[in-house]
């Protein structure tokens, strides 16, 4: 079926079976490979994207459910001020190691800062505990979120 949606602000039509997870539609059909597959069960957060501004796990989100909606991926998150600040903080503090989970981390962090511009460590832990990082870059993720919050204040 043809599914119309906006991806990173761009009107897009995807020809996909409705049950195809948004993750694979974005990666394989829209060729935006920054969003990652890690578990396929919403357990690790590597596939996090924004749908109408809300963070969702794209690996368990049927593409049919986002018809008519606005999807933002790591390739587009820098289009707004918050996403840009998060990406800048990530670079400033060299958060990444292998980097595979970091698209999801950044998407979750941007969503957190949009709803809570001055998060505490506990707020960060609560918002980010769905995003696993096998390299355990958590110390810097925490620091980078504070750093981005300060830059945005």
């Amino acid at each position: 079926m043809a599914i119309q949606l906006k991806i990173n602000g761009k009107p897009t039509t995807l020809d996909a079976p409705g049950e195809m997870p948004l993750l694979w539609a974005v990666r394989d059909l829209a060729n935006l490979t920054g969003t990652k597959y890690g578990c396929g069960m919403a357990l690790c957060g590597a596939c996090t994207v924004h749908v109408d501004g809300e963070p969702v796990r794209s690996c368990v989100t049927p593409v049919s459910t986002v018809a008519g909606k606005a999807v933002t991926t790591i390739e587009g998150v820098g289009q707004d001020r918050v996403g840009q600040a998060v990406q800048a903080a990530w670079q400033e503090l060299d958060v990444v190691q292998c980097g595979y989970c970091q698209s999801g981390q950044i998407m979750s962090a941007a969503a957190l800062l949009r709803s809570n511009p001055r998060p505490t460590d506990d707020d960060i832990d609560a918002a980010m505990s769905g995003n696993a990082c096998r390299c355990a870059t958590y110390v810097r993720i925490r620091a980078a979120i504070h750093h981005a919050a300060q830059a945005l204040a």
Binding site: A16, P17, M20, P21, W24, A25, R27, D28, L29, N31, L32, T33, G34, T35, K36, Y37, G38, C39, G40, M41, L43, C44, A46, T73, I74, E75, G78, Q87, W90, Q91, E92, D94, V95, V96, Q97, C98, G99, Y100, C101, Q102, S103, I106, I124, D125, A126, M128, S129, N131, A132, C133, R134, C135, A136, T137, Y138, V139, R140, I141, R142
Partner: protein
């Protein structure tokens, strides 16, 4: 343990290579390019591009002045790309912003790890083996740029300076960027000798301000992982794997799979003693492949499959531990010491199988042609995989071209001596080709495939006992290790198994740093457990450090000694251990009491110090255990003695990450077998550490001018014993089984 393969014989040699300890500052100055095999300077990947200057295999500079460093080591998170580029840029006097990094293609002659003899990354050797080589590569390029400028400006090369990518002649005021000089530099002779900087002259090495070379791409979703490769016409392959190790395909029905839109074909592929056979579905996209794979009906022949469980294995290991093993280390008279002991401490330690569980599940892209094969992959053992593929296909190694990509983690898993998953991808592509499909194939494992695919850190049992004399002095140390060999059946066997001892099974115990008069370490290596095993970040030290560093803590408590004071006393003659230990305990405030817990919570502090991969790391762990026995790790203070820190911030990141990786293993990590089947499948039953469990971490680097040693792995081993020692301090409970069973006992 670091290993090497003899180039001529192809045999692995157990080489506890210690190039790193040489003080490179001594006699720094003119160095002969001893490593410079003709082939190493033959051609870099960009050679032949008219407008690029490619002085050697490790870098090229284009007409815009962009410097591309070709990394012979995988970037799997450990910062190798940044480190290698720092070394080149330092001696090239490039500006950091003009440097980028690409993975080098697989090629033993040009890109071998000088500590191994193959192109591969492991044993935390990337920087140690490259330290001189990459600086020389940069210095050679610099000399040629200077030579070109001197010729053009008709001045003495000695009067030319290079700074941040600008070549200058001060007297005449002339200057040029690298880009303007590349054409002329390419015509300069390659220098036989180059002068390297003394550490005082370093402008990039040792600077914390340098940012990672891979940050920008990874932060913007641009970094290319294997999972992200898309070639024209490419099909995605997903396979049904055997449910038990050793099972084969009896028959299969692919009709439902083939009915899935987007599915192109289903092919059975052969297994090997080291690799599951299976049936693969090839489809136009990943979701179709997954749906098709799940629709396959496969009948497995399990007549020769392995059917034991972890509990069966452990029971057999306990029985083995009651018998003497093969001696791995022996000094003094252990039995006499036990006969005269006033105090004996005895304990069994249990360590489960562990899955590497990198965030990027295993995958590999293969394009087969007539007598040739091209691969796109994040390779940790480039030329071993190349050789294995060539042998499998019956073609020459040069006909297997490997394009190196980022690896989304690995922790040893993508360094398979059996090339298991790479060969599976090739086997699928070959089966597809036989069925008339010429398209490139991207093999993708699901998380479940990855978790259940074997090649685990082995399950181990240690049986240990200590003898103390009436004054509480440690007199004897006796440990029996039981567990599968990582090395047996691999190309490394001949060199790394000496007198029946696989060095990776006992490293960290057989070379115990503590001065104990009577020492015995024995090993049992069962050869009837066919569960595929493989090295895992910090290898043998994942388990040996736990036993060694909790035992010494027990000895201290039994003697009513401070655990730090006893360690100091028994580590005389080990200055790096002492330096790391002192720095960690000083920073942690070991001499001051820990702040009390609130609401009846118990607090505790534990310490451990351990050498691995020529690096010594000490850690102090502070914890809180609440009334209900819930454990919280509050703070970890870490000191690392790794020689000169090329990129101090990367070293710190490796310690932080190593601590989190080790904490994940200590609190959660366990793969269990039941009747031969792996129980765990995804992150709900093989949980990874999450941000809410991550302690505050402080990392201190012991100042040093010695050549750099490893940092990717050594941060891992001390964490779990320091944590167990903290739990004892807080609760009086000794932890001897990993993962730690939580909640701990409630407060009484």
């Amino acid at each position: 343990m670091i290993f090497a393969i003899d180039e001529n014989t192809g045999r692995a040699e157990a080489a506890l290579v210690n190039v790193s300890r040489r003080r490179f500052v001594q006699g720094a100055g003119v160095l002969v390019l001893g490593w410079q095999l003709p082939a190493a300077f033959a051609a870099a990947p960009q050679a032949g591009k008219a407008d690029a200057f490619t002085p050697n295999a490790f870098l090229s500079i284009d007409a815009q002045g962009r410097v591309t460093v070709y990394a012979k080591h995988v970037e799997m998170g450990q910062g190798a790309y940044t480190g290698l580029a720092t070394l080149v840029a330092e001696e090239l006097d490039a500006d950091w912003s003009q440097v980028r990094v690409e993975g080098a293609p697989a090629d033993t002659a040009r890109y071998k790890n000088l500590a191994m003899g193959i192109q591969g990354t492991g044993g935390s050797t990337a920087m140690a083996n490259s330290f001189q080589q990459m600086r020389e590569a940069g210095a050679a390029a610099r000399a040629m740029l200077v030579g070109a400028a001197a010729q053009a400006w008709k001045v003495d090369p000695a009067t030319i300076t290079v700074r941040a990518g600008v070549v200058r002649h001060a007297a005449s005021g002339r200057q040029a960027g690298f880009g303007e000089l590349v054409a002329a530099a390419a015509r300069q002779p390659v220098p036989g000798k180059v002068k390297l900087k003394s550490p005082k002259e370093f402008g990039l090495i040792g600077k914390s301000s340098l940012r990672r070379a891979d940050s920008a791409d990874k932060v913007h979703g641009r970094a290319m992982f294997t999972q992200d490769v898309k070639l024209p016409g490419m099909l995605v392959a997903m396979a049904a794997h055997a449910p038990r190790f050793g099972a084969t395909v009896a028959s299969y029905d692919a009709s439902a799979a083939l009915a899935v839109p987007g599915v192109v074909a289903a092919v059975a592929f052969e297994g090997s003693p080291h690799r599951s056979a299976g049936v693969a579905v090839l489809a136009r996209n990943t979701w179709a492949a997954r749906t098709g794979r799940d629709a396959l009906k496969v009948k497995w022949d399990e007549s020769r499959a392995y059917t034991e469980g972890s509990a069966d294995i452990l029971a057999r290991y306990r029985e083995a531990a009651s018998r003497p093993g093969t001696p791995a280390a022996a000094r003094g008279n252990v039995e006499a010491a036990f006969a005269n002991a006033a105090t004996v401490i005895e304990a069994d330690y249990e360590f489960p199988y562990l899955a590497h569980a990198s965030m990027e599940p295993l995958n590999c892209v293969v394009q087969l042609g007539e007598g040739q094969c091209e691969i796109w992959n994040g390779e940790q053992f480039q030329t071993m995989d190349q050789k294995a593929v060539a042998e499998y296909l019956g073609i020459a190694a040069e006909r297997v071209r490997i394009n190196q990509l980022y690896a989304g983690g690995s922790f040893g898993r993508r360094a398979s001596p059996q090339a298991d998953y790479v060969l599976e991808a090739v086997a699928i592509a070959r089966a597809a080709r036989k069925a008339g499909i010429e398209a490139p194939v991207k093999m993708v494992w699901t998380r479940e495939d990855d978790m259940r695919g074997g090649y685990y850190r082995p399950l181990y049992l240690h049986r240990a006992r200590l003898a103390l004399d009436p004054k509480g002095r440690l007199q004897a140390w006796h440990v029996r290790v039981v567990g599968q060999s990582l090395i047996k059946g691999t190309v490394f066997e001949q060199g790394m198994i000496k007198n029946g001892i696989d060095a990776t099974s006992v490293e960290g115990l057989s070379d115990l740093s503590y001065q104990v008069p009577n020492l015995s370490v024995e090993l049992h290596t069962p050869d009837d457990v066919p569960v595929p095993v493989q090295w895992y970040r910090s290898v043998g030290h994942t388990h040996t450090a736990f036993t060694a560093e909790t035992l010494i803590d027990e000895a201290a408590h039994a003697a009513r000694r401070d655990p730090v004071a006893l360690r100091r006393e028994l580590l005389k003659g080990h200055p790096r251990h002492l330096a790391a230990l002192d720095q960690a305990v000083r920073a942690a405030g070991w001499d001051r009491p820990l702040a009390a817990g609130r609401d009846g919570a118990r607090r505790g502090r534990g310490v451990a110090v351990h050498e691995s991969f020529n690096t010594v790391v000490a850690q102090v762990v502070e914890i809180t255990v609440n009334r209900d026995g819930e454990l919280k790790v509050d703070r970890v203070v870490c000191a690392v003695a790794c020689g000169l820190a090329i990129n101090p911030d990367v070293v710190k990141a490796q310690m932080e990450g190593g601590i989190g990786f080790a904490l994940s293993m200590a609190l959660h990590g366990a793969i269990t077998l039941e009747k031969g089947a792996v129980v765990q499948s995804n992150f709900h039953d093989y949980p990874l550490l999450r941000i809410n469990e991550m302690p505050r971490v402080e990392v201190h680097i012991v100042p040093s001018q010695d050549a750099p040693t490893g940092v990717g792995e050594p941060g891992v081993p001390p964490l779990s014993p320091a944590l167990a020692n903290a739990i004892f301090a807080a609760t009086g409970e000794r932890v001897r089984t990993l993962p730690i069973k939580t909640p701990l006992r409630k407060a009484v």
